[in-house]
């Protein structure tokens, strides 16, 4: 028996500019009480527009949205809705309590109910002990909890959340999810827009949007069910998995192939009961199925969604960087390691942000730095690329000390920042030529590389467009293209996929794999656990130190417990952090 209906969206169309395609086209959906409804889709699919329409902040061009039969444009109805935009307007200079009281005033909440509500929310969100802390001093996860608490002040019937977990580390993400699950259990209707497909998978129902159209509405299991018999894991010995994944991708029957730890996850276009081994006869392509140990694996929501949203990034990213010289890394490097950190330490006053971090990365390796916010991964990253001088220890890139021979080391590296750092009012071509130029590329080489990049990243039609006018996914491509103009042997990526939709992320990683294939070394920080799986090796940071290092499978194995013998990477991450926290507390207790 499904839950009682809270909201109905009826044939809603919204267009912002007449010269652009509409943001939403004839979307109809039902939101129910007592459950979380997930809202998924690529950037620009219309998720935020739909939420704003549901919150009554925008009028639809056509159609209507009703809460229990009443139009949400009615201010009285709007009072019954709680909306938390992507950037919730917390006053960073006010304390947690002051923020709550301010929003209570705005909601017209007063007297005893006000005290009771605030007290309840503080307890429920776990923010009670931090009532007097400035909102600006809270961690990312706690800020989101406070934002959520503020959105809940009016005791809404429906809670609309726009990507509440973007930029929140896995541990805080779990806390937030549990908090919202608790709310749904109390009977609230929750709409949760997300770029994390594991979150979407846990929703009771999902709405999948693409280019303003509703592609799917229903329980995620239904969508995943369509994938039965199409997903397999191929085990490969260490070295060859990336090469094999690339080969598999070229098979016509393969929709998607991604590296997952030591194995390759393959998604087929058509279900095959006996497994892909029989497909030898099916397509042309290279024969790669022989001699592989192939095992069926349960489908994931992600597989289903990626097929639903128009196939994989396969077509766009296969055979990437053929213009890069083979094995660029061998050009000129001293020493065995592409990147080396030796006892890196950074102190800000009395606070130690990074504490004696050491690791090395070999050529052609993809190395991931993981950790919750404030764990020191960004600081480590910045010391590695010479943006921050270490208090002690040293960092070497391509065998050169980044502080000593800065120019030489910098020439050997490409850097892509978290927010795609481009010159917004310069055209795509001008951005490419500038970044190539400051790395010393001469005119002819510059033109040649810009043309290659345009082809590689399908930027051709946008060459004369200003960077700021590009869709987000293309901005990310351009940022990567700019970082690669000088064909650096080492590539530094700082949360390169934050805010980017799953499809674009997938495509992005295919390119990274292609680069590693050609011998580039990649250092990456990320919040996404599925991305961490793509790395060859990971270092998990906590409170300025590395608490675990190794291949994703090794890390998973080390976090196995009797109750959870085969943890996911996220489980392992949380488990290791909890163990670490215990170790820190126990000596103190003794």
């Amino acid at each position: 028996m499904s839950n009682r209906t809270a909201m109905t969206v009826e044939e809603v169309t919204k267009r912002f500019r007449s010269d652009r395609p509409p943001a939403l086209v004839g979307v109809s959906a039902v939101i129910r009480y007592g459950q979380i409804t997930g809202l998924v889709g690529p950037d620009g699919a219309g998720k935020t527009t739909l939420l704003r329409l549901m919150a009554g902040l925008l009028p639809p061009d056509q159609g209507r949205i009703l809460l229990e039969g009443r139009d949400v444009r009615d201010p009285a109805v709007r009072q019954e809705l709680g909306y938390m935009p992507q950037k919730f307007g917390l006053y960073e200079e006010l304390t947690v309590l002051e923020n709550l009281h301010l929003y209570a005033d705005l909601r017209g909440l007063s007297g005893r109910p006000r005290q009771a509500t605030i007290g309840r929310l503080l307890e429920f969100s776990g923010l009670g002990p931090f009532g007097d802390r400035l909102a600006g001093r809270l961690s990312g996860g706690m800020k989101q909890k406070l934002g959520l608490a503020c959105a809940l002040l009016g005791n809404p019937k429906v809670l609309l959340l726009d990507e509440p977990t973007v930029g929140v580390d896995p541990v805080s993400r779990r806390g937030l999810w549990q908090m919202v699950e608790g709310l749904a259990a109390e009977g609230l209707a929750v709409v949760w827009a997300t770029a994390y497909l594991d979150e979407a998978e846990r929703c009771a129902e999902v709405l999948a949007l693409q280019e303003g159209q509703l592609l799917f509405a229903g329980p995620p299991g239904e969508l995943t069910g369509r994938m039965a018999g199409k997903t397999f894991l191929v085990s490969v010995p260490g070295d060859r998995r990336r090469a094999l994944a690339a080969q598999l991708l070229q098979r016509p029957e393969v929709a998607d192939a991604t590296v997952q730890g030591n194995r390759i996850r393959v998604v087929l276009r058509e279900a095959m009961d006996e497994g892909p081994a029989t497909s030898r006869e099916v397509g042309e392509g290279p024969a790669v199925w022989e001699d592989q140990s192939v095992a069926p694996t349960p489908p994931r929501f992600e597989d289903a969604l990626i097929l639903l949203l128009g196939g994989s990034a396969k077509e766009r990213a296969s055979g990437a960087f053929s213009f890069f010289p083979q094995r660029i890394a061998q050009v000129d490097y001293e020493g065995p390691w592409a990147v080396e950190a030796a006892g890196l330490t950074k102190k800000f006053g009395s606070f130690t942000a990074v504490d004696r971090v050491s690791f090395h990365v070999s050529r052609g390796e993809i190395f991931g730095l993981l950790g919750p916010n404030g764990a020191g991964k960004s600081t480590t990253f910045k010391m590695l690329c010479g943006l921050l001088p270490p208090t002690a220890g040293k960092a070497q890139v391509a065998g050169v000390d980044i502080r000593r021979a800065a120019a030489k080391a910098r020439n050997a590296m490409g850097y892509m920042a978290q927010k795609f750092s481009l010159y917004g009012n310069l055209s795509v071509r001008q951005n490419l030529e500038f970044f190539g130029g400051v790395y010393g590329l001469r005119r002819r080489k510059l033109k040649e590389m810009a043309a290659h990049m345009a082809e590689e990243f399908q930027l051709g039609p946008f060459m004369e467009t200003n960077a700021e006018e590009l869709p987000l996914g293309f901005q990310q491509r351009l940022a990567m293209a700019c970082a690669l103009m000088h064909q650096p042997p080492v590539l530094f990526l700082d949360e390169p996929t934050s805010g980017v939709d799953p499809l674009t992320r997938r495509e992005f990683w295919m390119r990274i794999h292609a680069l590693a294939q050609r011998g580039s070394t990649v250092i990456v920080t990320t919040h996404f656990m599925d991305e961490a799986e793509y790395c060859d090796r990971l270092a998990l940071m906590h409170q300025g130190r590395i608490i675990a290092e190794g291949a994703p499978d090794q890390i998973k194995a080390s976090a196995a417990t009797p109750s959870r013998p085969a943890p996911s990477l996220e489980d392992a991450f949380v488990e290791l952090l909890e163990r670490e926290a215990k170790e820190l507390v126990e000596p103190a207790a003794r």
Binding site: Y415, K419, F420, S421, L422, L426, G440
Partner: protein
């Protein structure tokens, strides 16, 4: 290295010139300021309402009033009062700036060779205009008195212009009366013969506005890149701090010179200021050096600022006092002794002086040189300061969130 800097300079020009708002900022506000300063904010006193309380009614008093009527550009309206009290009230209510009170015996005493009692009441609240109007009136009265007693003379033009000449060798009777007249100076304005206020304002404005443009471009440039995150991209590239500095300074200096040239052109073509070929050479020689000094300050501000907003505030925190202490509006000599050194380290002070010289004086290179060279050490200091801060900014850019 040069190729990298070249790229940076090209990029910097593109960033500034491709943005329609920045293009507008480079052209429109300076033009508006040029017009405002030239036409609106003048020191001349015009359109004054004068109150008159004439107790006399005699021929002489009417003749005097006719003279005042004859200069409508200064005294646009004359209001007559029948009693002193209402005239005083009008003064108190700021309906009139000054009251001319002509005594009962004015005509009579004047005819009998006396002084004639006249009182001038002025509004001290508007001290500047009041002083000037008082001066005008005093001059008119003086002329009137000397003519009334000295016979027919060509009417002096008392409109504040310089030609209040009294020809000594005018006529024989005048010569005879000379003994009783006080000596009167014959003034002749050098460099600005008509004492046209635009002539003294505009050259200073050329300096002030090119100062502003160069300051704004640089103060915003590094801060903008910090906001965008592109500054980190520059820092991880092989560019050195000094190269980034040069790459940022050159476009600002070039745009500042262009801005200055545009205004010089306006001054000559629209406002008809005299400018000799030599004067132009002086301006074009001094301008780049001056702008280098200013750009150093702009980059200094920008290195400290984390956002464009901070950069803008910083720029104006510098621009306003720099203008006030430049001799543009008030003489440098008026600055209190203890603070006068500020004027000597203010590059704008040198440029304002140089611009006036170049337009109005046609000075020799030896004179000009004395005002040009101090800008070199100033520029050296500001650029070095900016370069030092730039290294610091490498750290600020990444740690200061």
């Amino acid at each position: 290295m040069w190729q990298r800097i070249g790229r940076l300079i090209v990029k910097e020009f593109l960033v500034v010139l491709r943005d329609p708002r920045t293009r507008l900022i480079l052209i429109v506000p300076p033009m508006i300021q040029l017009l405002i300063f030239s036409f609106a904010a003048t020191h001349e006193v015009r359109n004054v309402v004068l109150g008159v309380y004439n107790e006399d009614g005699g021929l002489a008093s009417r003749e005097l009033l006719d003279r005042i009527h004859a200069i409508p550009e200064t005294f646009s309206r004359i209001e007559y009062f029948q009693e002193l009290r209402s005239a005083e009230e009008a003064l108190a209510a700021q309906r009139v700036l000054a009251v001319l009170h002509i005594g009962q015996t004015f005509s009579k005493e004047l005819l009998s060779g006396g002084a004639g009692p006249v009182q001038v009441l002025v509004d001290g609240r508007r001290s500047n205009s009041a002083m000037i109007v008082q001066g005008y009136l005093a001059r008119i009265l003086e002329d009137f008195a000397s003519q009334a007693t000295g016979g027919a003379r060509p009417a002096a033009s008392p409109s504040g212009q310089a030609e209040s000449s009294v020809d000594a060798a005018d006529s024989a009777p005048a010569a005879a009366k000379l003994a009783v007249l006080p000596p009167r100076p014959v003034s002749r304005m050098w460099f600005n013969p008509n004492l046209n206020p635009i002539w003294s304002t505009l050259p200073g404005l050329v300096a002030v506005l090119s100062n502003l443009v160069a300051l704004l471009i640089t103060a915003l440039s590094v801060a903008r890149e910090k906001e965008l995150g592109t500054f980190e991209q520059l820092l991880v590239s092989p560019l050195r701090a000094g190269e980034i500095l040069v790459g940022k300074a050159v476009p600002a200096v070039v745009l500042g010179v262009l801005e200055g040239t545009l205004m010089i052109t306006m001054a000559v073509l629209v406002f008809r200021l005299p400018l000799s070929w030599h004067g132009l050479q002086v301006l074009l020689a001094a301008m780049p050096l001056f702008l280098v000094a200013v750009v150093g300050i702009g980059l200094f501000v920008s290195s400290l600022a984390r956002t464009q907003q901070q950069g803008l505030l910083g720029a104006f925190t510098y621009q306003v006092p720099a203008t006030l202490l430049s001799g543009f509006a008030t003489p440098v000599e008026n600055i209190a002794d203890g603070l006068r050194w500020i004027a000597y380290i203010n590059p704008l002070q040198y440029m304002v002086g140089l611009a006036r010289m170049a337009f109005l004086e046609n000075p020799g290179w030896d004179v000009v040189w004395g005002r040009i060279w101090p800008m070199a050490p100033i520029g050296l200091v500001t650029l070095t300061g900016a370069a030092l801060l730039f290294r610091q900014a490498r750290l600020l850019a990444v740690t200061g969130r």
